[in-house]
């Protein structure tokens, strides 16, 4: 490690807030803090924006995951912390822990990809989309970060089965009408249920929006269409059963519209049972997303140039508001503390000391082993920074193909509800295909993201492999049809049964961790296992509120919402 600073020293050296890592939560908070007039220094050890939310070319992706993958050990600083220049300050070393493990990369067509490996922008935190009516969109509009991003509509969403068949999700009246797989009575049941939910939401909104005295008459009528309180508190799956919805419809509602992650029927196994009120909220989000932007065909949109655009947009917003950015900075930060135990600042690998009132850290940073710290009591206060024994993981997969899962539908979503791939499947597998028209890969190629939550990585990988083999054909996996597979290698497009042929794939596991906080130091959350950004944004906003309880988040300056919808390009 060089003692010489690679960068000119950062000046000034004292800030209201230092943020390390440019993941989405960090970037949003940096932007929010700068907007509210705080002085912010935003550092990132990587040469790109986005940290765990970044979109990377294939080589960048390989090197990022390889260097950040378990087994951990590599990144800890062997040498003891260099003492602070100020003898009054004590130091705690931080390690850069790996969030990722079990990385498997296979390339079936190296030559083909070699030529254009840099033309890919692979999302680390995929598959992920935005609901048009998402809080994230509102926040982007409010913060004006939206002006830096353009979106593409996800053309369709499907429910998959183990045989590779894809059935369009009947998520709107028009979709239900056109659906070919539902029986007449199922269409009726599903639509009635959606209307019931709609009625409930309308009634709720009306009672919130109107004066009590004024609406006494209307109230009685409205309560009739409301879902009862007991039902709202009951598991959503029970409510669906109570509404006499058949299994097929229940599965569509739970996993393809309400986007439930875990098997809802098996309540003993599943820890995350969706309550009716949450289910109804998710349905509301879905429904209000359809048609919010005229040029978005469905409820989902995806940022052109990849997910990494989102944190970057907030960073640009922050920069406009005066936030200072330094990237590729070798950090190995050592926290500095006053003897009182209060956080004081950060010491970079360069040796420069930077001071701030508050610190926000990338979730990868952990406190190094307690023994290395000079002050045990001090360490104890920052236990939250210790790598928790994280049980929950999400297994992710990225596949590259030269043909689409569905002809003429470049951007699509596929959901494999629990038990749809095999009986023991307990979590939903989500698959997102993004095509070249979103500028994340060469035209004519497609990137397919997969994810599934799991306790055990092997189990998660099994799930993803099952989904992949339902959707894709593997060029060299089957010994029995060696001739065919050779042909496939040479002509990767003409795949077996019309399935796209896999050119490249990566499988990896990511830990799920929520935020941690103590006084002035906050650790931001890792990307979650969700399909959307709702929880990420929710957690971020909460973080900001706890960090700055008295500060408004992106106070409205001049409302210029309306033009923003046009950013969604069709």
């Amino acid at each position: 490690m060089s003692e010489l600073p690679q960068y000119p020293p950062i000046d000034p050296t004292t800030f209201d807030l230092i943020v390390i890592g440019t993941g989405l939560p960090e970037s949003v908070i940096a932007a929010a803090a700068s907007t509210s007039g705080k002085t912010v220094l935003h550092l990132d050890p990587h040469p790109f924006y986005g940290s765990h939310f970044a979109s990377l070319s294939i080589p960048e992706f390989n090197s990022f995951l390889n260097s950040n993958s378990a087994p951990p050990a590599s990144q800890s600083c062997p040498e003891t912390a260099c003492p602070s220049d100020d003898p009054n300050l004590s130091i705690i070393n931080l390690n850069c822990r790996s969030l990722y493990s079990d990385l498997e990369i296979s390339s079936f067509s190296p030559t083909l990809l070699e030529e254009c490996s840099r033309k890919f922008l692979l999302d680390l935190a995929g598959p992920r989309v935005l609901f048009c009516a998402d809080k994230a969109i509102d926040l982007m509009l409010k913060s004006e970060a939206s002006q830096y991003v353009e979106f593409k509509s996800i053309d369709a969403s499907f429910i998959g089965d183990g045989d590779g068949a894809l059935l369009a999700v009947p998520d709107s009246r028009a979709a239900i009408f056109k659906d070919k797989s539902l029986s007449l009575i199922q269409k009726n049941q599903l639509m009635r249920f959606l209307k019931l939910v709609e009625g409930h939401l309308r009634a709720t909104a009306a009672s919130v929006g109107t004066d009590v005295n004024q609406s006494e008459k209307g109230e009685e009528r409205e309560t009739a269409s409301r879902i009862s309180v007991e039902d709202l508190e009951s598991p959503f799956v029970d409510f669906l059963t109570k509404m006499k919805l058949p299994a097929k419809i229940k599965s569509i509602v739970l996993y393809a519209i309400a986007m439930a992650d875990r098997d809802q029927e098996n309540k003993e196994i599943s820890k995350q049972v969706l309550k009716t009120k949450d289910g109804v909220d998710r349905l509301a989000l879905y429904q209000s997303s359809i048609g919010r932007f005229a040029n978005a065909s469905g409820p989902f949109i995806y940022p052109i140039y990849g997910q990494g655009e989102l944190p970057q947009a907030f960073c640009r917003r922050a920069a406009v508001k005066g936030c200072i950015y330094v990237s590729s900075v070798e950090i190995n930060p050592n926290l500095e503390f006053q003897s009182s135990g209060n956080y004081k600042g950060v010491k970079l690998a360069s040796g420069q000391e930077l001071f701030s009132n508050k610190l926000l850290l990338d979730p990868a940073f952990t406190k190094s082993s307690p023994t290395s710290s000079p002050d045990d009591s001090l360490c104890a206060r920052f236990d939250f920074l210790t790598a928790q024994n994280v049980k929950s993981k999400v297994v992710k997969g990225i596949c590259i193909t030269k043909s689409s899962l569905k002809p003429d539908v470049p951007n699509l979503l596929v959901l494999y509800p629990p038990q749809s791939l095999y009986p023991e499947q307990s979590t939903t597998v989500r698959v997102l295909q993004i095509g070249g028209n979103s500028a994340i890969c060469p035209m004519g190629m497609f990137v397919i993201y997969l994810s599934a939550s799991c306790e055990d990585v092997a189990e998660g990988k099994k799930l993803l492999n099952r989904a992949m083999s339902a959707l894709l054909s593997f060029p060299d996996c089957s010994e029995s049809s060696s001739i065919a597979s050779e042909e496939n290698v040479s002509h990767p497009v003409g795949a077996e049964e019309g399935k796209p042929t896999l050119l490249w794939s990566a499988l990896y596991a990511q830990e799920l961790q929520t935020t941690g906080q103590s006084d002035c130091i906050t650790s931001s959350p890792t990307p979650d296992g969700d399909l959307d950004y709702n929880s990420v944004f929710h957690a971020t906003l909460e973080l900001f509120q706890t960090m700055y309880p008295d500060t408004d988040l992106f106070p409205a300056t001049n409302p210029s919402d309306e033009h923003s919808g046009e950013n969604a390009e069709s």
Partner: protein, 690 residues
């Protein structure tokens, strides 16, 4: 725009509005002076464009532009380029005007006018329409214009059908798209275009499509209208057919001999007091061309002249479902002991055509016998003027088996068997059967109940000869609907009534159970008239007339009738009780004008005259106001202006007994008026008229 709440007008400051109005006024007056002085200079034309962009509703300005275009075109006829530029300018002005008001008739019309000059690429027009329809998919101006453009560019109906499909796929609540679909399909089936030759297949496909829409959203009405149209297409018989007649095939009619004709004394099952013996033909749909050449009548006696067939329809058109004529029975020649065979041959020669232009193709023949009979002379002359009393104790029910053979024979043969129809209706029956089974799944909602009721009713209408099935179920469905959806109570009630009447008239047994002898102290049993009593049924509409052509005495009291439309088919009717119903005016009784045999009428206890404005005239197909012109106002009755409706309906009737008490209209002066109007009247409200 549809389904979008109107935004409240933005508050604008009055000065700006006034300034705008002032500007508009100035423009307008300048424009009008140009128009009057026939100035078609570039500036003047531009001024009109400016005006139209602000106010597209200014018809005068559109017409002015048409004149200007004509003039300018005349000047540059040889130069296609300048013709183009003139017309392009018009299209541009229209487009701008439409942006201002999408629903401006004047603007759309002007565009049509320009296009008719053979200008503009049609693809551009369709593109423009797509743009407008994206804003408001149902706008009927756009759809009208689309039909116009499609016809002009000879776009195939198949392509247009595809377009409606796309529009429906996007949003199934599109009345206009569904409507256009029905128009296109009718065309395609008429032309027998490839893929549209078999009506049965086309309809089956359409049922499948609309079913998806109805099950997806049962609350959306556009699909239900389409379903109703399909059902009508399925059930409606293309071919005109004779459904029933009076007299019925094979009947034996006894007529009192000439000596007694005026006496009205003969009281057999059927008795006629007139020398004019009515013949009635009842078709399954409105037809025209019924006359002495298309219907031949032969009988044992000589007919003095060609029979004149009259359509029984209250509008003046020459088509009707029911046609009637009267055989004049000559005094001489006939011998009382003889039976005369009468044969009526319908449609053996061409000429009877349905309103849609389909010729009557199934000639049928009705033969019956006429007997002249000497009846025993009644004891007293009182019976002649005896007042009919519609009291329950005046009616005696037929004991089972006691009915006269001619009555039984009659009731067995009420409808004419058309074999053609029963074989052709198999696919219709299959479709309706399938639909019924499918819609039974929707019985838990209002529209599901209604559709099942409609389907079952339609099923019965396909098989007029068979006993109707599911009547009980249909009646229950309508009863439920009346409770469930009170705002459409009357509609359900009317349909309920029709089915109830269908049920009542469906069999000999059920009709017999409603047949009564009328007798009171003044009449002996053997001469008692036969009365069909359809009282106390709660019916609000009349129907099944084809089964009632034989009825002479009819009791419809204590129902909820508001109109007697259709009753004119009952040409034999001589005694009619309509008391305790819901008639609001004489207009509602217009059918009475066609009942020339009617002698006794009871319209007491109704609401006649209680509504100062007679709204019913707008509800019926033949508002009285239409026929007023032909009314003979020369008779200058004292109160005919006050009671003009009563005058119009009752004049020329040979009523001997009339009950009008219990109506708002009744008063001393009304009674005076009636006595003058009806010189034959013997009894008015139970009081003997001097």
């Amino acid at each position: 725009m549809h389904g979008r709440p109107r935004k409240p007008l933005k508050p604008v400051d009055e000065a700006a509005v006034a300034a705008k109005a002032e500007k508009l006024r100035a423009l307008q007056s300048e424009f009008l002076s140009n128009h009057q002085n026939k100035i078609y200079s570039k500036e003047a034309v531009e001024l009109s464009a400016k005006l139209l962009e602000i106010n597209p509703e200014l018809y005068t300005a559109w017409n002015y532009r048409k004149l200007a275009v004509q003039q300018n075109l005349a000047q540059c006829e040889s130069d296609p380029e300048s013709v183009n530029s003139i017309l392009n300018e018009e299209l541009k002005v229209v487009e701008n005007a439409l942006r201002q008001n999408f629903k401006s008739y004047g603007a759309w019309h002007h565009r049509k006018w320009v296009l008719e000059k053979g200008h503009s690429s049609m693809d551009k027009e369709l593109g423009l329409l797509d743009k407008f329809q994206a804003m408001d998919a149902r706008n009927f101006h756009a759809w009208n214009y689309r039909r116009f453009v499609a016809a002009l560019m000879k776009r195939s109906d198949e392509d247009e059908l595809e377009h409606t499909q796309n529009m429906i796929d996007k949003n199934l609540s599109n009345y206009s798209a569904w409507h256009n679909r029905s128009v296109l399909l009718s065309n395609l089936m008429k032309k027998a275009a490839p893929g549209f030759t078999s009506k049965d297949e086309v309809l089956t496909r359409e049922y499948e499509l609309v079913r998806e829409a109805l099950f997806t959203d049962e609350d959306d009405q556009s699909g239900w209208f389409y379903h109703l149209w399909l059902l009508d297409q399925t059930v409606r018989s293309e071919f005109p057919l004779l459904v029933s007649s009076w007299p019925v095939e094979g009947s034996d009619i006894s007529l009192p001999a000439a000596d007694y004709l005026d006496g009205c004394a003969s009281m057999n099952v059927f008795h006629y007091s007139s020398r004019n013996f009515p013949l009635v033909l009842y078709f399954n749909q409105s037809v025209r061309g019924v006359n002495s050449s298309t219907v031949s009548v032969s009988c044992g006696f000589n007919l003095n002249a060609d029979l004149i067939w009259k359509p029984l329809s209250s509008n003046d058109s020459q088509s009707a479902k029911v046609w009637a004529t009267h055989l004049a029975i000559p005094d001489a020649e006939l011998h009382s002991s003889e039976a005369y065979q009468v044969e009526v041959k319908v449609g053996f020669s061409q000429g009877i055509v349905s309103t849609t232009g389909v010729a009557y193709g199934h000639p049928s023949q009705i033969s019956f016998q006429l007997h002249l009979q000497k009846a025993p002379v009644e004891s007293g002359q009182d019976s002649r003027f005896g007042r009919i009393q519609w009291k329950d104790d005046c009616f005696a029910v037929y004991e089972p088996g006691s009915a006269e053979p001619d009555l039984v024979n009659l009731l067995d043969n009420l409808t004419i068997k058309n074999e053609v129809e029963s074989t052709a209706s198999t696919w219709q029956a299959r479709i309706i059967d399938d639909e019924t089974n499918i819609f039974r799944d929707l019985l838990d909602c209002k529209i599901g109940k209604l559709t099942v009721a409609r389907l079952l009713t339609a099923y019965n209408s396909l098989r007029p000869l068979d006993k109707p099935v599911h009547c009980k179920e249909v009646l229950e469905l309508y009863s439920e609907l009346m409770k469930l959806d009170p705002s459409h109570y009357q509609y359900y009630k009317d349909n309920h009534s029709l089915v109830l009447l269908q049920q009542v008239t469906s069999s000999k047994e059920s009709l017999l159970s409603r047949c009564f002898h009328y007798r009171d102290s003044t009449l002996s049993t053997n001469g008692s008239p036969l009365c069909l009593r359809l009282n106390n049924l709660g019916i609000s509409q009349l129907g099944s007339f084809e089964k009632l052509l034989w009825v002479q005495m009819l009791d419809l009291s204590n129902n909820e009738l508001q109109s007697i439309e259709g009753l004119e088919a009952l040409q034999l009717l001589s005694q009619l009780c309509l008391s305790n119903n819901k008639f609001r005016s004489f207009t509602a009784l217009e059918s009475l004008r066609y009942l020339k045999s009617l002698k006794v009428l009871d319209i007491s206890q109704n609401e006649i005259g209680s509504h100062s404005i007679d709204t019913t005239r707008y509800l019926f197909r033949s508002p009285l106001s239409h026929s007023v012109g032909s009314c003979d106002w020369n008779i200058n009755y004292l109160s005919s202006k006050t009671y003009w409706e009563a005058f119009f309906v009752l004049k020329d009737m040979g009523l001997t007994q009339l009950d009008v008490a219990g109506n708002a209209i009744t008063s001393k002066s009304f009674n005076v008026f009636l006595e003058k109007l009806l010189p034959t009247l013997k009894w008015l409200d139970g009081v003997e008229v001097n």
